[in-house]
Symmetry: C2
Subunit: 352 residues, 2 copies
């Protein structure tokens, strides 16, 4: 399960919050349990002074206050968001960065203004191909001082479910989720959904800043160009059953019928099925998959009744989507330790 973690990585793990897996039980992740990855520091923003600038290749540059954004027609979308680094700490050889195991995920109901409608009001000029999102959080990464910034192809930015969100789960964004305003791009890994948004700029090529050209690319060699990460890979996770041992988190389950349950999602296509193994992946059985009650961009529930017998077992769950993607049984290595959607393995003991 990977090498030991350095104190530098621990500093990141102590600031960045995972979702305890028992929180898979809730349709919407309660505030405070959704995963959080903050590249630099959480900024302190005075909403009275804050403005969103919309500029670049537009006919009418705009400057909007939070009140003006709230006056626009609201869009609401339930989104399962996952960090592109989820699973990194299980990849070998070890990759040094935020050491996620399985828990960099959460589902929230985001409410805000439609980005596409705002771009229409501003009038996108001929030649604009990408939209650059620049945030208020600043830091140093790869030796370069920078504000967190990412661009998105214009066609994705114009999707009707892309939101400039000022609310999560019915309340104003808390500071850690990007107050006063963040981008939410359903189906894409979390780095795309820029928090603490300050500026939206229409440009004629993809942004080449650090978070585009170095981070968030699948590479086998440090100096190759690699493939940019975008859509979330298919995955299922389970609520670890029974009760935990404090330190090892190993599970004790009573003999008899045990309902295994969890959630499944994919950014690429509808989930087609979830299979469960109770023998470490030797044999698989199909789980019952609930309908997509939260809409197309949020996780779906699954369940499987396991007849637990005395002994040691390794429980696994494995999802596949309608685009033909299936979770791998083992992690695949890459330079940044991204997109490891290998199946979850939960060791359990059923005592006599």
């Amino acid at each position: 399960m990977g090498e030991a973690i350095s104190v530098e990585e621990l500093q990141l793990a102590a600031r960045n919050h995972g979702m305890p897996l028992e929180a898979l039980r809730w349709d919407l992740t309660p505030i405070g349990l959704h995963y959080l990855l903050t590249h630099y520091d959480i900024p302190d923003v005075d909403p009275e002074d804050w403005r969103l600038s919309l500029d670049g290749l537009v006919e009418r540059p705009l400057t909007l206050s939070l009140a003006e954004l709230r006056e626009r027609p609201a869009v609401e979308v339930a989104v399962t968001m996952e960090c592109a680094g989820n699973g990194r700490a299980r990849i070998e050889p070890h990759v040094v960065s935020q050491p996620w195991l399985y828990e960099a995920v959460g589902t929230a109901l985001w409410r805000g203004a439609s980005l596409g409608a705002l771009l229409q009001d501003a009038g996108v000029e001929e030649g604009a191909t990408d939209v650059l999102f620049t945030a208020l959080d600043r830091g140093v990464e790869g030796g370069e001082e920078q504000a967190y910034a990412r661009s998105l192809p214009l066609a994705e930015a114009l999707r009707e479910d892309v939101v400039l969100a000022y609310e999560i789960n019915g309340v104003p964004l808390p500071p850690q989720h990007g107050f006063p305003l963040r981008l939410v791009v359903p189906g894409w890994y979390g780095m795309t959904s820029v928090k603490w948004l300050e500026r939206v700029t229409l440009v004629d090529e993809p942004f080449d800043g650090y978070q585009m050209s170095h981070s968030y690319r699948l590479r086998q060699e440090e100096d190759e160009e690699g493939i940019p990460l975008d859509r979330i890979e298919v995955r299922a996770l389970m609520v670890p059953p029974g009760i935990p041992e404090f330190l090892t988190r190993s599970r004790i389950v009573e003999a008899g019928a045990c309902v295994l349950h969890g959630r499944t999602w994919s950014g690429a296509a509808e989930v087609a099925g979830v299979d469960v193994s109770t023998d470490g992946g030797e044999t698989w059985s199909e789980a019952e998959l609930a309908p997509p009650t939260l809409g197309p961009w949020a996780w779906r529930a699954w369940r499987y009744v396991w007849s637990a017998e005395q002994g040691e077992h390794e429980l696994c769950c494995r999802a596949r989507d309608a685009a033909g993607n299936e979770q791998p049984l083992e992690p695949a290595w890459n330079v940044g330790g991204y997109a490891n959607n290998a199946v979850q393995r939960v060791p359990v003991t059923v005592p006599a």
Copy 2:
């Protein structure tokens, strides 16, 4: 700064949330940024079915619904809560458990029913000396299956600021903070403030369960009885100034006047002063200490204007309280890795 962290410790660090230190800027820690330490799993409680039992050495055992608790006169208290294991990962030789660095702290406004008033209504019988609090979360620790449970001396339980809390910062408790009801004991380390409370029992001796007799004791040898932890040791923390480097969290600060600021607290007595060093503890200067605007049980703000000059610096802050306690410069080892309140050290670079 201690040995490498194992994957078992990482599993704990990924579930249990630290407060990013920039959150010291807020009087009350926003929900989702307060530290969280969950021994077992967060329980899923149906508030309609849930009842609090009050029994043992009382004249009139009581059973109360959440609505009945909310009908009682409400008590509100701002409390700085800290985990007894805060600082553990900086202790050498390494102690294996939840690996906190500095960030296991938060301040919240708790609202609920007075425990003392409830005990008076029930009528405490002669001979009762302690109050046992039993929670709904179950797990295995030290080889023993248990519900999380701790007792408190009766005199402490009768303090007027001890609350059976159903609200935090003006909203119902989220699941991770103990929904529907938790104990809050101001001034004591967090293990005392039992979450997901189910039962309050008047007893005639201190409880001898695992969380009392093994955990949360200061011991130099595994098999000695040791001293139970109670009040929070004096501490000051600062908001790391400037901007961070993503991976190392080292700080870049511009030359010139730099306002260092943070918070200070002690469970034992009023804070008497905070000293700041900008040369790694060689020399110290007194910081400006704000009045205790949040009441006697919550942190106070401090500030110090540093004239930052080009070079490498180590910033430190060190608090002392009216009972004569002062933060040590180096951690003190103990079996459980508890109560390490050694001064915070923040390396910063001031570029040319």
